[in-house]
């Protein structure tokens, strides 16, 4: 089979973009343009131009002008990836009265100039791709835009500061938000902190009001101690199943009075909120200002759940709000858009044994230290050593623990320099200890950050530029006994130094949640190699994802500080509100349809569709495809033995022609063939 005969009537315009030197630097764009006019004339190319920036307004006007004056019926733009500018050029065609789907883009930047070094071969490849674009576009058909209605409700996953911000922005605009949080309370990491850099205002003071707002906002349906179980559907209309884990507390009756956890006899180390530095009861709320105020019973440690005795909480609860028989609930909601703000975890410092965390008592992690500084924390804000009483006389703060290290995380965790400076300040403020900061590079970008660095310098903190080699309790010289010795090269004086200190704080890296891959899969978005979710465009579309209707905000997308997380929360909300405001979203009109006359009723396609878009009419013995359900993957199209199914936008004719185009000049386009043909 070969593509339909080449059309005589189509008038094709070819536009080759220089993209400054991005393309023109490697591909001889002029030559490509001239060549297209000459070699592809028979295929209907009547105009072929090269231009510095096709995406510029002038570039677009060029296309519009040619459509109007030269009567182009097809347009091929050889430039960057269609994922970047397809919409731009389709728009241009549309404005000039040409059906936008009669415009085709060929990616000669991402797929040619940026990945090829040999100019001749690059130009040859560009020509082949232009040819394929031309051959394909001839077979393009005018398509009508497709729209889906947008459900006005939104799902926000993750109740950290980013999720809270997004939730408030959307709910305050009068739209409904379902906020799902895995832990018993919203607040996220920020709730664990004491002070926030660079202004040093207390985290609780600025966070808790927002948490309360979320709790009081009637448009917010809050699901804490809950997780998203499954997600179906697509942009505008997702069906989400939420697992509401049993709290064993009847929320309707609970007043949050706290008697249950006062009376609970079981004290356990709190690995989550207190980062292992403090204790909680088996029935607990993570912290005093928790939203919602309802506690949860941790069945792993609850004496009653473990060996059937106790029930102290039940005995003393004034409102009989304890219900040991409660079970997980499953709630199904429909939403138009989803924002993922599931945040980060911190690096396990035990993975770097030479830093001694877990072995040397007075080595702490940054998150432990945050809890220690916190007035509501395990030490009431006292800065003390592991014995709980002694104030340190000297403190070493180690940067880049698990960051900027190919053996752990090759990226920079962004916040550690600033939080380490914050720690130095806090130690100075609350003790008379000498403070030593060990850093590779001091990264204090953004407003007022470097000013804060200046301030900490003034306070007399010692800065040693060198990545710490090891932390040991093995003394070598007198004066080292009983201390922790931090050994590093002071790279500014090129000497190895051993600094004895009482306490060490490891500024551990920010890492993706361990289950980020599964979560990404659940929501149909992908993670980068190191586990952060991938944004649609790193600069121009940082909160959208490849999947329409799924947005990301905060540290899920990469390490971030509070201001940036808040900004992203708001940004994601804005994107969602835009969808809601439009009430409907345009979709690629890529859909499969059956030509009933051709359909032999063989039913091969019937069980191919995961979206159940294919139905079979027993009476007529023909298959039909439900346009609303079809997602346009084209699997059924490829499978139909009778060729009765067509996939708009990607028809057999289009693809066949594209293949022909790519190969039609293969002998003459610089790909020389020397070896003998193999006997087939």
């Amino acid at each position: 089979m070969s593509a339909a005969p080449k059309s005589e009537k189509e008038r094709v315009g070819v536009y080759v973009c220089h993209c400054g030197t991005n393309i023109a630097g490697i591909v001889d764009v002029e030559d490509v343009a001239l060549w297209a006019k000459k070699e592809l004339g028979d295929d209907g190319v009547v105009i072929s131009r090269d231009y510095k920036f096709m995406c510029s307004s002038l570039g677009q006007e060029l296309i519009e002008h040619d459509i109007e004056i030269e009567g182009l019926t097809r347009v091929v733009v050889a430039a960057c990836s269609p994922h970047l500018h397809e919409a731009t050029f389709r728009g241009a065609c549309d404005r000039a009265g040409l059906n936008p789907y009669l415009c085709e883009m060929v990616s000669i930047r991402e797929q040619v100039s940026w990945v090829t070094t040999d100019k001749v071969k690059a130009t040859a490849k560009a020509k082949a791709m232009v040819a394929s674009g031309v051959e394909r576009v001839i077979h393009n058909e005018p398509l009508d835009r497709m729209y889906v209605p947008v459900h006005p409700d939104t799902l926000v996953v993750g109740g950290g500061i980013a999720g809270i911000q997004a939730t408030l922005e959307i709910s305050n605009s009068g739209n409904k938000v379902y906020l799902v949080e895995r832990e018993p309370s919203i607040g996220g990491h920020m709730a664990q902190f004491d002070k926030t850099f660079p202004t040093l205002d207390c985290a609780a003071c600025i966070l808790t009001p927002r948490m309360v707002d979320v709790g009081n906002q009637p448009n917010v349906e809050l699901y804490t101690w809950s997780e998203v179980e499954r997600v179906d559907g697509y942009v505008g209309n997702f069906t989400v199943t939420i697992r509401k884990k049993a709290r064993y507390i009847v929320e309707a009756d609970c007043t949050g009075c706290g008697i249950c956890w006062e009376k609970c006899p079981k004290k356990v180390i709190d690995d989550v909120f207190e980062a292992g530095l403090g204790y909680r009861k088996a029935v607990y709320t993570p912290f005093a200002q928790a939203v919602p105020k309802y506690p949860v019973i941790d069945t792993e440690t609850c004496i009653y759940f473990q060996n059937g005795k106790c029930r102290a909480c039940e005995k003393f609860c004034p409102t009989d709000a304890i219900d040991f028989n409660q079970e997980d609930e499953f709630i199904t909601v429909t939403v138009g858009n989803i924002i993922l703000a599931t945040g980060y975890d911190t690096f396990d410092a035990r993975r770097i044994p030479q830093y001694g965390y877990g072995r040397l008592a007075n080595v702490f992690t940054s998150i432990e230290f945050e809890r220690m500084c916190n007035a509501a924390g395990p030490t009431d804000g006292e800065i003390v050593m592991r014995d709980g009483v002694t104030k340190p006389k000297s403190v070493g703060i180690v940067h880049c623990v698990g960051s900027r290290d190919n053996r752990y995380n090759s990226y920079c965790s962004v916040i550690c320099c600033m939080s380490s400076l914050k720690f130095a300040h806090v130690v100075k403020e609350r003790t008379d200890a000498e403070v030593y900061e060990f850093y590779i590079d001091m990264r204090t970008a953004y407003k007022d950050y470097d000013e804060f660095y200046q301030r900490v310098l003034e306070e007399g903190t010692h800065f040693i530029r060198g990545k710490v080699a090891e932390i040991t309790d093995a003394a070598r010289q007198p004066g080292e006994e009983g201390k922790l010795i931090i050994q590093a090269e002071d790279t500014l004086i090129s000497r190895q130094r051993r600094i004895p200190v009482d306490m060490v704080i490891l500024s551990t890296a920010l890492e993706p949640r361990p289950d980020s891959k599964e979560v990404g899969h659940k929501f149909g978005i992908s993670c980068s190699a190191n586990g952060w979710f991938i944004e649609k465009h790193p600069k121009l579309d940082p909160v959208a994802t490849m999947t329409e209707g799924i947005f990301i905000a905060g540290a899920v997308q990469g390490p971030k500080d509070i201001p940036t997380s808040v900004a992203q929360g708001a940004a994601a909300a804005a994107r969602v509100l835009c969808h809601i405001g439009q009430e409907q979203i345009e979709l690629e009109p890529v859909r499969a349809s059956v030509n009933a006359d051709k359909c032999s009723g063989c039913r091969i396609c019937n069980d191919l569709c995961p979206f159940n878009a294919i139905l079979f009419h027993e009476d007529l013995m023909v298959t039909e495809i439900n346009q609303a359900l079809c997602q346009g993957c084209g699997t059924c199209v490829a499978a139909c033995p009778a060729g009765a199914i067509t996939g708009s936008g990607f028809t057999n004719n289009q693809i066949m022609a594209q293949i022909e185009g790519m190969l039609m000049f293969s002998e003459s386009n610089g790909m020389t063939r020397v070896a003998e043909p193999v006997a087939a």
């Binding site: 030479q354 880049c400 050994q487 190895q496």
Partner: protein, 201 residues
């Protein structure tokens, strides 16, 4: 951008990045496998980890900066590689996974050729050792020690005589070297290998 941080990318960037014929390229080429020397970020983990750093005239980190800067003679005149005890702390801790110890071996080989480092103690120890091995197929501690001390610290030889005697009395030292049977075979192999390297030791 986030998605590119995938550090396997470096494998793709690698040698093209290094200007040809630079001293850096020279050192990289003389080191087996992938040394990643061009990836140094000057963090000082090596200098901080090195057990003999305090005796080095330049910390390993500094040496790498000098290599990048093309200060060939200063590098080859430095005692740094000769104080390397091959403990591999730097190599296993380097956040950039640079094969530091192997680079030190490379620098030793280059230094012997260039002959710019005035104290020959270490170089000669190596050479003497190699010599013993080439003539016997096995190392020979007594011969090694005596020949080495005779050349460098004759006084020490006297001092260490008792030491040697005790080693002998404890049966931990041979008086005569143990020769392997396939000595000629070994010599042939090493001869060929030296031709390939264009070195005569």
């Amino acid at each position: 951008m986030t998605t590119v941080i995938d550090h396997t990318a470096e494998a793709v960037l690698d040698p093209a990045e290094i200007p040809k014929k630079s001293y850096l390229a020279e050192v990289v080429a003389a080191t087996p496998g992938v040394s990643r020397l061009e990836m140094c970020i000057q963090c000082g983990t090596c200098g901080g980890s090195c057990p003999s750093a305090k005796d080095m005239d330049h910390s390993p980190r500094q040496i790498f900066a000098m290599i990048h800067a093309g200060m060939k003679d200063d590098v080859l005149a430095s005692n740094t590689p000769w104080y390397c005890v091959s403990c591999y702390f730097c190599t296993s801790r380097c956040p950039q996974e640079i094969h530091i110890t192997d680079v030190m071996y490379t620098l030793k080989r280059m230094a012997i050729k260039a002959n710019l480092y005035d104290d020959h103690t270490a170089a000669d120890l190596s050479k003497t050792f190699v010599n013993q091995v080439e003539n016997n197929g096995r190392s020979f501690e007594l011969g090694l020690a005596t020949r080495h001390y005779l050349r460098h610290q004759p006084m020490r030889l006297v001092g260490s005589a008792t030491f040697g005697l005790e080693m002998l009395s404890k049966g931990r030292l041979d008086l005569t070297p143990h020769k392997i049977d396939g000595l000629d075979q070994l010599k042939a192999i090493l001869k060929k290998a030296k031709e390939l390297d264009k070195v005569e030791v």
